[in-house]
């Protein structure tokens, strides 16, 4: 009875897994729910304690997620249609001013 020797190596979790992402425009932010309008639908994105919000490489407060802001949300789809955000990236070049939702 021989077992093929394969030396197991310790692998660090190579950064975080990528999950999936959704891209769209912020409709509203209420508490921990960020509504984002994508090409096909409006999605309710859940922001958790661990959700990071950034613009470029800089961390920014959630208050920056105003209506009309173009965002790329990375995280995991939830059964039933929701989305849990691990990271929300504000797309700086398309960031809109308050009360001025951009056409997507």
């Amino acid at each position: 009875m021989l077992v093929l020797f394969v030396g197991s190596t310790a692998l660090a979790h190579e950064g975080k897994h990528t999950g999936t992402s959704v891209h769209g425009i912020v409709v509203s932010l209420s508490g921990e729910t960020l509504k984002v309008k994508t090409e096909n639908a409006e999605i309710a994105v859940t922001l958790t304690d661990k959700t990071k919000v950034r613009s470029g490489k800089d961390a920014v407060p959630r208050a920056r997620l105003i209506a009309g802001t173009h965002v790329d949300v990375r995280g995991s789809k939830l059964p039933g249609g929701g989305f849990a955000a691990r990271e929300v990236v504000i797309e700086a070049e398309a960031e809109s001013s308050p009360g001025d939702p951009a056409e997507h």
Binding site: S8, A10, L11, T18, T20, S76, P79, A84
Partner: protein, 175 residues
């Protein structure tokens, strides 16, 4: 005197078995694509349990069932684990078809009967002499994976669809 005789007989049989096995190995080699013998499979499972450590048996997951933790662990599994284990944990992947010993079907009792701690340790440290790597110490992610592995028997088609967006499966390549 009688016990010496029995011991001698056992050693003789062992030697004959080893010689026969050696002759077969020399003549035909041994392929990772063959199915393990029942005794090897038993040994592999036993080694897997040993690798986790006795203290792991009493360890319980510190995290409760949370849909967001589960979803994140699901995607992590799809991204890091499904290439060998398959999105549904069945092990039906081209890579696993060539592993010796093959990764088990994680939905079955042989894995589900392991404690949370044992599954955690297997993820963290891997299992020597197998293709299971040690993924290191990220407790939060590892406990999330334990939660997901416990969920595998109840995985829905919707969840499987989410996983296939990350780790596509080609039906034609499945063993």
């Amino acid at each position: 005197m009688r016990s010496w005789g029995l011991a001698g007989a056992a050693l003789f049989l062992l030697a004959v078995g080893a010689a026969l096995f050696y002759r077969e190995a020399i003549a035909h080699g041994f392929s990772a694509r063959e199915k393990p013998w029942a005794a090897e499979a038993w040994l592999a499972r036993h080694l897997r349990r040993l690798a986790a450590g006795a203290d792991a048996r009493s360890m319980r997951s510190p995290i409760g069932s949370d849909p967001i933790v589960l979803a994140e662990a699901r995607d992590h599994f799809a991204d890091h684990c499904a290439v060998c284990h398959a999105n549904d944990g069945s092990g039906r992947t081209p890579i696993n078809a060539g592993l010796y010993p093959p990764a088990p079907d994680l939905r079955e009792a042989r894995t589900q009967d392991l404690s949370d701690g044992e599954i955690f340790r297997i993820i963290e440290n891997g299992v020597r002499f197998t293709g299971m790597p040690g993924w290191g110490k990220d407790d939060e992610e590892n406990w999330g994976l334990v939660l997901f592995i416990r969920h595998l028997p109840d995985l829905t088609e919707e969840e499987l669809g989410f996983m296939r967006e990350i780790q596509p499966e080609d039906e034609h390549e499945l063993p």
